[in-house]
């Protein structure tokens, strides 16, 4: 991971729009697609940051959205995982139309508040609702690259709430992570049919679940909560109720539930 250099004048300013190339597209779940992008002059990002994506039609019509970067900073290409909203304007285009070789305008990386670095010591509690897993996955992937000494000082617990098992993004990768001896992964499903053989949790997050999945409040863990707004509010309020320090809870609301 290179340091930013004042003399990197050849790279475009990172706050400007740039045309990235789509290298690969990948379907993660029925509703989630990953775009792998090569961004010219990309100088790296921090886990948790996002990019803005802008689409301009021939008649000048424009639409713009923000998408969290799913990939670790150690990856020279960036990956965006996009949840396809049926009546969305941008996500159906990104999921259905874009293919390898296309260009897409991005600006970023953006956001210094909802970020985690493997140099940050201390236990971490990641709480994801639906597509809120995306920036938290960047944090988990970033941590996996760190030296074991750093990793042992920043153990992560993840609580991931999704609708059904087929909606869990990165399920295999998360299952592997949960077997690394250092990372605890708890899944809870809110709409899984009772008939399935799912053995994880089956309900909306509540206090008992957060207490079981997270850290004892006195550990002073850093918490990152991401997902639809009602989910984030519920989780953040529960954490405070449990006794977590509000100043160590970082939230990223994605907006109203679709």
């Amino acid at each position: 991971m290179t340091e930013e250099s004042e003399t990197a004048a050849a790279s475009p300013p990172r706050l400007a729009w740039q045309v990235a190339s789509v290298v690969e597209t990948r379907q993660e779940t029925p509703r989630a697609h990953t775009l792998v992008l090569d961004v010219p002059g990309w100088r790296g990002h921090r886990a948790g940051q996002h990019v803005d994506v802008r689409l301009v039609a021939e008649d000048g019509y424009q639409a713009q959205r923000s998408y969290s970067i799913a990939s670790a900073p150690e990856n020279p290409r960036i990956e965006l995982t996009i949840e396809r909203l049926d009546d969305g304007e941008v996500s159906p285009y990104l999921c259905d139309v874009l293919h390898a070789g296309d260009g897409v305008e991005v600006r970023g990386p953006i956001g210094g508040y909802f970020v985690w670095s493997s140099r940050d010591e201390g236990p971490v509690f990641l709480i994801a609702g639906g597509s809120g897993i995306v920036p938290l996955m960047a944090m988990l992937r970033h941590r996996a690259h760190a030296a074991s000494e750093l990793r042992s000082r920043s153990r992560m617990h993840l609580l991931y709430s999704a609708r059904t098992v087929s909606d869990i993004i990165y399920i295999r990768e998360l299952a592997d992570l949960s077997n690394d001896g250092e990372t605890r992964v708890t899944f809870t499903l809110t709409r899984e049919p009772a008939s399935s053989d799912w053995k994880g949790e089956r309900r909306r997050i509540d206090r008992a679940m957060l207490e079981a999945a997270g850290w004892p409040a006195k550990e002073g863990s850093l918490s990152y909560v991401c997902g639809p707004t009602p989910f984030v509010e519920a989780a953040a309020n529960l954490l405070v109720e449990i006794g977590y320090d509000a100043s160590r809870i970082r939230t990223e609301r994605f907006g109203p539930t679709s």
Binding site: S66, I110, G111, G112, Y113, R250
Partner: protein
């Protein structure tokens, strides 16, 4: 009852970076209403497509407003008394 229109200050990071030429979501701003200091990224963000409205998480005072017109960026930051921007 969750306020569905409220986002986090992080959501305004791109627009604020047009003005400040840097990411200011970790800048700590003191509210002119109640003097609470908080990072911009943690403030309550409203405004949607009209512009950026950042409000104090404690007292709802409007700390910063920003509108991007075709020709200019209009900013009112009178709700911030002091803002401290980290430089690495």
């Amino acid at each position: 009852m969750p306020d569905q229109m409220r986002l986090d200050g992080n959501a305004a990071a791109g627009q604020l970076s047009e003005l400040f030429a840097r990411d200011v979501t970790t800048a700590v701003a003191t509210c002119a209403g109640c003097h609470t200091a908080a990072p911009l990224g943690a403030l309550a963000e409203y405004g949607q497509s009209m512009g950026v409205v950042l409000r104090c998480g404690r007292c709802d005072t409007v700390m910063l407003r920003l509108v991007r017109t075709p020709h200019a960026i209009h900013v009112d930051a009178t709700g911030i008394t002091v803002m401290v921007v980290p430089v690495s």
